[in-house]
Symmetry: C2
Subunit: 335 residues, 2 copies
Amino acid sequence: MRLSDLGQFPLIERLTRIVASARPDVVVGISDDAAALDLGGEELVLAKVDSQVEGVHFRRDRIPPHSLGRRSLAIVLSDIAAMGGRPTHALASLALPADLEVAWVEDLYRGLREEGDRFGVAIVGGHTARSPVGILIDVCLLGRVSRARILTRAGARPGDAVLVTGSLGDAAAGLALLDNPRLHLPAAEREFLLARHLTPTPRLPESAVIAASALATAMIDLSDGLASDIGHVCNRSGVGVKLYADRLPISVAVGRVSERIGRAPWDLALGGGEDYELCFTAPAAAAPALAERVTAETSTPVTVVGEILPAPAGRWLVLPDGREVPLEAQGWRHF
Amino acid sequence: MRLSDLGQFPLIERLTRIVASARPDVVVGISDDAAALDLGGEELVLAKVDSQVEGVHFRRDRIPPHSLGRRSLAIVLSDIAAMGGRPTHALASLALPADLEVAWVEDLYRGLREEGDRFGVAIVGGHTARSPVGILIDVCLLGRVSRARILTRAGARPGDAVLVTGSLGDAAAGLALLDNPRLHLPAAEREFLLARHLTPTPRLPESAVIAASALATAMIDLSDGLASDIGHVCNRSGVGVKLYADRLPISVAVGRVSERIGRAPWDLALGGGEDYELCFTAPAAAAPALAERVTAETSTPVTVVGEILPAPAGRWLVLPDGREVPLEAQGWRHF
């Protein structure tokens, strides 16, 4: 069987079984946004690696190297945010074609540095290898988190509300703009969507407020799309979920793009992926106040988009017309 | 200017300047075998990332996936050994063609697991992405080291002896066997050299004895070849060096291969690369006893191959006929 027949998540499950081990110093293993390790300090050490592959995650003619550097770090910063942690140090491993311009690589590194400086991260390792063809950027990010405040995908309970930061579908709409250069949009909206696609903002300040509240029960970052990512929370927490299409936070710009490309805005918001917003759960009674607190301290809107159900109740999407349909993972297809 | 015009080490220097920062929690930064970080524990946390790129570091038809998994972890285990540290946790990031067999990836993971188990390392992260063409494996390894016992490339002093573990040139000779399938060699020697090339053994037990002795002044692992790697020690320590070609530890098998391919054995040993032996320095008076101690506790031979000089004395190789020639980095060409 080939990878394309098996698919990403079954593959990860198989590989996870091969390397799984029960060690007291592995507090959170391969199954979450980042690993959480006991390395002898009072706090846990968080570790995460993710990659940007040319021709798969980016095209060289569409993203300036500086933005690509920022983005390569941002996507792992988002994982540390999802654990309620603080990022500290990053190592970058680059595979580069020999005919690549040195200036291009330097600009990429300036982007890494700028994004690191924004969030207190030092770049402490920088392996480079020759690549026979395209560019590949792997970033390994370390962070710290208090043992009492760590948030994982496991912990959501029936009766919890499901909340998301920011707005959803922006990155997918930005990608649609790049795919359809003749799609007309007001300049400000166009710029907003492209920035959301090219240089996502890791929600670290928001994560800090959420973790400090001690109210959230589970958290994940939205890399594949809400419909897919909430499924990971359901799997790990052993719960079901109901999401409401008409409660999803959707920007005016996404509304306009979805009209032009003939796709429902909630469809872009659920399946688009790469928004790198946070999705978290908290007891329904506490959710509105928690959402307000995050917004008050960070200016980022937070929206209740659904509720956690017992596992046997299943996973559902309530459409704008009131019909309930099974919630299907429709995010990014990796293989 | 293109990467191929600039070369690996000048590129790393430029990139290092871009991300360099002085932070008290970065005890050793981008300039050594691994970064050493203060993450709040009594010990320092070591972190290192390295990659294996298809068509550059390996060919799929020449190395079984299980061996490649072991090798991908071994090369970073060697870096933790070079710092005098103990490895603890690894994260693997794979870029894989969609038409790759699932069984191939599972075998790779079994190799990772086996190598991890041998040295007490848990695999705690496993990102996979689609690759448009070849296979790329990035492994990020974490470890721990006592603040008092850490060994870096800086610290060698004039009057120190230069020592190496094991034998040199075996991996290069193994590669020569693969490149020349008709090169005849006794089966046992052939197997020995191929194993040294395909699945190098990280010198962790040896490193533990060296670090515990508190006698060593600097250490590095031999990935590019002694002639190139000792240059990093000289650069970081601000010293010169003299190596003796006829003191290099060379296996009978390397002697035989070098004869067949018309290259001096000491040339293979100095420039071959990928042996993943340790090279370290210690005061000359203490060196023989330290070498004996390592061998007594690990059964691995340790050889004095040269001496550290003051920087102005330069870097020299003493040939078997007594002539002194400038020591030139002749290791692995990255771009």
